[in-house]
Symmetry: C2
Subunit: 599 residues, 2 copies
C-alpha cells in the first residue's frame, strides 16, 4: 500500500497501519506531545485521495467542522485502508527555533544550554593566561570551569583544532573535540505519583522529538505521597524509592535514545517537573517534614544539580534542573501548569484544576494567584477501588446506563473486561447519579426503593449482598461490581476537590459566575469528558461551556523551562507571588466539605 505525501517522497505501509507509526518509521518526525493519543491535535493531516478508517470520537472533539469537511484527520488515529494521498499540515512548523506545541503558549527561546565551536588558532595564550581564562576570554564570559571539565581540558586543547564548548547559563559544562553531530538535546521529565513521562527535545531546534511514559515503580510502595513519605522513614526506604525513580527515568531515556538514534552523550540537561514529594525523593532528600511539623519542604527554589551525582543516562557532565515548587502540596508540576496556561500573566478569572492523586487548584484573578491542595486520593484514577485497574487492555473505560441496564466499552477489541479504569469509574458515578440509582448522600438505593420509583427494570444490575453495589459485567467466573465502598471513595475525592474549588472562590469572595475559564490539567484529567465532570458533580453545571483541557502541563512546562531562561526566571517569581490557602484552617471548611460530598 502506498502513502503519497505532498511535497515529500512516498512511503509504503500495510492495510490498517497507523499513519503516525508509518511516519515515525520513515523518520518523518511529527509533533506528538500527547504521545499519539489523539489529545493534542498536533498531528493534523489532510486526506487528498483514498480511504481510511472512519473519523473517531476524539477527532470530532478536536477538529472543527470545517476541518472535518475538508478531510482533515489526526495521523495518530488514522489507519489507511487503500493507497492514499495525504498532506502533512503542520509540516512547516518545524522551521524556526520555537515550535508552538499543542498546549504551549509562545515564549522567549533562550535556553541555558548552548554549544559553541572555538577554533584553536583563534585562542590567545599570551600573558600566562590559563586555558580556562583563554577560553573564557574568547567566549567573553567569566565561567569557573568545574573540576570534571578541567580534567579533559589539556587533552582537548592539545589534540583538537576545533573545540566544542557547551555552556549552561554561561558556565562551561563540557569541552570536547568538535563532534559530527553538533545538536544538543534535553530530556523533560514529569514525575507523577502514578505515571512518569519523559520527552526528548532538540534544544537547538526546540523540537520535541518523542515522548514515552511509564508507571512510577514507586507505586508498589504506596499509592499516595503520604504512604511514600512514611516508607522513606524505613531503613533504606528513601534510597530504595530514589533508585526506583532514577532507574525508571533511565529506562525511558534509553528507549528514547534508541528509538530516535540519539547518542546519550549529546543530551546535556534533564528538567524535572514533579510534585514536592517526588522532587524530594528524586534528589534523595528526606521528605519527612512535608508530612509532619514543621510541615515544610526542605527546598523550594529551582535547583541545578550535576548529573555525576545521579548517573542519569545522559552526558556525565550534564546538568539536572529541578523546577521550583510552592509548598509541600503545590509542587513544581503546578508551577509548570501555571506557565503553560500563562495564569501568572492573565487578566481574566481562571480556575486551574490538576486532577490526580492530589487535586491542586489555582485561581488566577486580576494577575493575582491563589492556590490550594485537596487530598483527593487515588480513587478517581481507579486506585483503591475494588474493581479498579489502569487504563490498559481489559479495562472498562466507558460506562453507559439506561433503562435496559449497563453498557460498557473495553480497551482492546473483543476483550473480556477485567476491571474498570479511572474514566470508567467517573462514568459509573455520573450514570448512577443521572439514572437516580443513588441518593444525594451517595447511598445506593435498595431494590425496593427502585421499584417504588418505577425503576424496577434496573433491579437486575443492583446487588444488596454482601454490600450494595452495581454489577457492571458478569463473567463466567466472577462479576465486576462497583460497591458502596467504592462509591464512598469517589465521593470523598469529589468532595475534596469541589470544596477546594469553592474554598478558593469564597476566600476572595468571588462568585462562581464570574469565572471565565476552567482549565483541566493533567494526563488523567484529559481523559475525563465534560459530561462526566459535570455528571459526577466535580464541576458545577453552569461552568460546562467554560471547561478546557490543557493535557500534561507538567511536561509542557518542563519543555518550556528547558528552552527558556526567562521561563525559569518566571517560575522563580511565581513561587514568591502565589498565595497558598490551607483549606483546613478556613472558617467553616468542615461544613463546606460535607456540603460538597453531596451529589
Amino acid at each position: 500500500m502506498k502513502i503519497s505525501i505532498k511535497n515529500h517522497k512516498s512511503i509504503e505501509g500495510n492495510l490498517n497501519d497507523n499513519l503516525m507509526d508509518l511516519f515515525k518509521n520513515n523518520q518523518l518526525s511529527l509533533e506528538a506531545p500527547c504521545g499519539g493519543k489523539g489529545l493534542c491535535g498536533k498531528c493534523k493531516v489532510r486526506i487528498i485521495k483514498g480511504q481510511a478508517n472512519n473519523i473517531t470520537h476524539e477527532e470530532k472533539n478536536i477538529l472543527s467542522s470545517d476541518e472535518i469537511n475538508n478531510g482533515v484527520r489526526l495521523a495518530c488515529l488514522t489507519h489507511p485502508v487503500s493507497d492514499i494521498d495525504v498532506e502533512i499540515l503542520n509540516w512547516k512548523e518545524t522551521n524556526g527555533n520555537i515550535l508552538s506545541y499543542g498546549y504551549m503558549p509562545e515564549f522567549n527561546y533562550n535556553p541555558p544550554l548552548k554549544s559553541v565551536i572555538v577554533k584553536k588558532g583563534d585562542l590567545d595564550f599570551s600573558n600566562n593566561l590559563s586555558i580556562e581564562e583563554v577560553i573564557n576570554n574568547k567566549l567573553n564570559i567569566k565561567s569557573s570551569i568545574s573540576l570534571e571539565v578541567m580534567k579533559n581540558l589539556s587533552n582537548v586543547v592539545c589534540d583538537s583544532d576545533e573545540i566544542e564548548v557547551v555552556l549552561h547559563n554561561d558556565d562551561i559544562i563540557y569541552v570536547g573535540s568538535k563532534s559530527l553531530n553538533n545538536s544538543i538535546y534535553g530530556i523533560c521529565v514529569d514525575i507523577g505519583t502514578t505515571t512518569v513521562v519523559a520527552s526528548l527535545v532538540n534544544v537547538y531546534t526546540g523540537e520535541e522529538i518523542n515522548s514515552l511514559s511509564s508507571i512510577n515503580p514507586q507505586k508498589n510502595y504506596g499509592l499516595d505521597v503520604l504512604t511514600r513519605i512514611d516508607y522513606c522513614n524505613k531503613d533504606g526506604g528513601l534510597k530504595t524509592l530514589q533508585s526506583l525513580i532514577i532507574d525508571c527515568i533511565n529506562n525511558l531515556i534509553s528507549d528514547l535514545c534508541v528509538e530516535n538514534g540519539i547518542d546519550k552523550d549529546r543530551i546535556f540537561e534533564v528538567v524535572i517537573s514533579a510534585n514536592s514529594t517526588m522532587n524530594h525523593v528524586f534528589l534523595g532528600v528526606d521528605p519527612k517534614t512535608l508530612g509532619k511539623a514543621p510541615y515544610s519542604t526542605v527546598f523550594r527554589h529551582g535547583r541545578i544539580e550535576n548529573n555525576k551525582d545521579f548517573n542519569l543516562n545522559i552526558n556525565s557532565l550534564g546538568k539536572i534542573y529541578i523546577i521550583p515548587s510552592v509548598s509541600s502540596y503545590i509542587g513544581a508540576d503546578i508551577v509548570s501548569g501555571i506557565v503553560v496556561t500563562s495564569l501568572n500573566k492573565r487578566n481574566d478569572k481562571v480556575l486551574f484544576i490538576d486532577i490526580g492523586t492530589n487535586g491542586e487548584i489555582v485561581l488566577s484573578y486580576k494577575g493575582g494567584l491563589l492556590c490550594c491542595s485537596c487530598a483527593a486520593g487515588p480513587a478517581l484514577e481507579g486506585m483503591n477501588i475494588s474493581c479498579g485497574m489502569r487504563g490498559e487492555t481489559g479495562a472498562i473505560e466507558k460506562v453507559k446506563i439506561d433503562n435496559n441496564g449497563v453498557k460498557i466499552e473495553v480497551i482492546g477489541d473483543e476483550v473480556t473486561p477485567s476491571g474498570v479504569c479511572g474514566s470508567g469509574i467517573m462514568d459509573i458515578v455520573g450514570e448512577l447519579r443521572r439514572n437516580g440509582l443513588i441518593n444525594n448522600k451517595g447511598r445506593f438505593k435498595t431494590k425496593d426503593d427502585l421499584t417504588k420509583e418505577g425503576l424496577e427494570n434496573l433491579n437486575h444490575i443492583i446487588i444488596e449482598e454482601p454490600s450494595r453495589g452495581i454489577i457492571l459485567h458478569n463473567n463466567q467466573c466472577k462479576s465486576i461490581v462497583f460497591t458502596q465502598k467504592d462509591l464512598r471513595q469517589v465521593q470523598l475525592s469529589k468532595g475534596a476537590i469541589l470544596s477546594g474549588f469553592y474554598g478558593l472562590l469564597n476566600y476572595i469572595e468571588m462568585p462562581m459566575e464570574s469565572l471565565e475559564q476552567v482549565i483541566i490539567a493533567g494526563q488523567f484529567g484529559s481523559h475525563l469528558t465534560k459530561e462526566s465532570l459535570i455528571n459526577i458533580g466535580l464541576i458545577p453545571d453552569v461552568l460546562k461551556d467554560k471547561i478546557t483541557y490543557v493535557g500534561n502541563s507538567s511536561k509542557a512546562g518542563a519543555i518550556m523551562a528547558l528552552l527558556s531562561k526567562d521561563i525559569r526566571f518566571e517560575m522563580d517569581r511565581i513561587i514568591k507571588d502565589i498565595e497558598y490557602v490551607e483549606l483546613s484552617t478556613l472558617d467553616g471548611y468542615d461544613k463546606l466539605f460535607t456540603k460538597c460530598l453531596k451529589f
Copy 2:
C-alpha cells in the same frame, strides 16, 4: 627532674629532655611554625632558676643580646640539666583571634569558615517557606544549600533544638545538631616537589596547633616537575601521582588529629599551597600543557572544591581551597610567599628568592611585582649528587676546609656519615671556592696545580681518578667523594638562580645596590647560612647584610588564606598584577647565564 612553669603547674622530665617536647607531652601547646627547628623564634622561654645546655648558634642568631643576658632561650633548643624554673614568654599570645606567627605579617582576620548556632524555636516557618529559606532568613544570607547538606536537613530540624550551621563564604556547607566541641579547624598544606607540610589550625582562635611534614611520595616518579609531568602522560600515571599525594596528605592529617585529639569531622577546610604542577596533579588535572605548547596552566585562579571529590580525612562536606598561581612555573607557593612578605604592598625594593628544585624570584619595586623562574634542579637540595642524601641521621650537614683538610659535622651523635645533605653541599662548594681548590670556571685543580700554588698540604683530600673530586670522609668500606660532576650540577643551579636574579634587575634597569632587602624563602633556604649563600656565589657579596629568612612562606600563606577572605582577595589581585619575565627570551640571556656560572 622538675620543670616549674611560672603561672602553671609543674611538669616532670628526664635529664637532657627537650623542653619543647616536654611542653607538648603535657598539652602545653606552644607556637612552633618552624616545627621546632630553632628558626621561627616563637617558643621563647626565660630560665629563672636552674641549668640547661649551652646557648646554641641558632639561638644567638635569633635572640637579641638583651634577651640572652636575661636568660631567654628557645624551648625547642633547650635541654634542662637540673630542676628548673621557667617562664613561657609567648604564653599570652594565644589570647585574641590572631596570633602573630613567626614569619607572618598582621592581616585582617575574617575566615570564610564560620560556625553559627541557631535555636529551632527562633525559626519562622510561616508562608510555606522551605527549611532552606527559613535558615537563610535567620542568618540573613542567601545560600543555595548543596544537595549533600540538604540530605540531612530534615533530620536535623526534626531532632535538634539547637542547630549548628557551618558557613563557608556565606554558603551553608554543613548543618548538624549542636556538638559538644564547637571549635572548627582547618588544615594548611604546602605541597613541595620534595616535601609536604601540613598544619592543623584552629579557625576560631587562629592558633596553629601543630605542623607535620613528610617526603612527597611522588619523588619515586621523578625528582623534578618535568619528569612528573612526563609520568602523567603514561597510562594511569596522573591517577597514580594524585593518589600518592592524597594518601600522603591524609596520613599527615590523621597524625595531626591523633596527636592533638581533634575529631576529623570538625575540620571543614583544607588550603593547598603548591607549585603549579603539584596543584594540577593534586586536582587530577593533566599538567601536560605546562611543559609543551601552549605552555599554559589549565587554571590559575583560586578554586573552591568539594571534599567529596577528594576524600581527604576531614568532614566529608568540607571544602578545599586552592591558592591561585601566576603561571606554569610561578605557583601558589610563591603567591603565598608574596602575601607573607607583603611584597605586594611595600614601597622598598626587595628581592624574594625561593630556593628549591625550581628557583623562583620575585622583585618588588615601588609596588610593582616582577617575577621569573629558574630551572635550578635539585642539586642544591642534595639530589642528583653522587654522595647526596636527605638531611637525616648520617648526613654530613656542615663542612669546613682549612689547611689541615676537611672537617665535617654529621646529623646524629657519633654516627658514621653516609652522605651529604643540601646544606653540606652548599658548604663544600663554598669552602672549595674559599680555599682556592677550584678555579672560577668550576674545575677542580690538579694536585700539581695545588703544589704550584703552595697548597700541597691539601693534596691528600684531592683525587684525580676515576675523576677529579674531594674526599670528605674515608670509611672502612667506602669513601664519600664530591666529584667534578657533582660540582657541575651545583654550578648549573647556582648559575640558573643568579642569572634570574640579574635578569630581573636588568629588565627594569635597577642597580643591585639599590636593593634594600633579599628575602630567602622556603624550608630548604632557611637551612642555608648567609656565609654559604655568599661563598657559593648565589648572592653577591654586597648584599650579605641585607639577607633575611622567611622560612616556609608557602605554608604561612596557606594559614593566612585559611583565616582571611581579604588575603584570598589579595592573592587573586596579585596574579593579575604581577609581571612574569621569561628569562630565555631576554636579550643576551645566554651570555648572562654563562657569566653567572663562574665562581
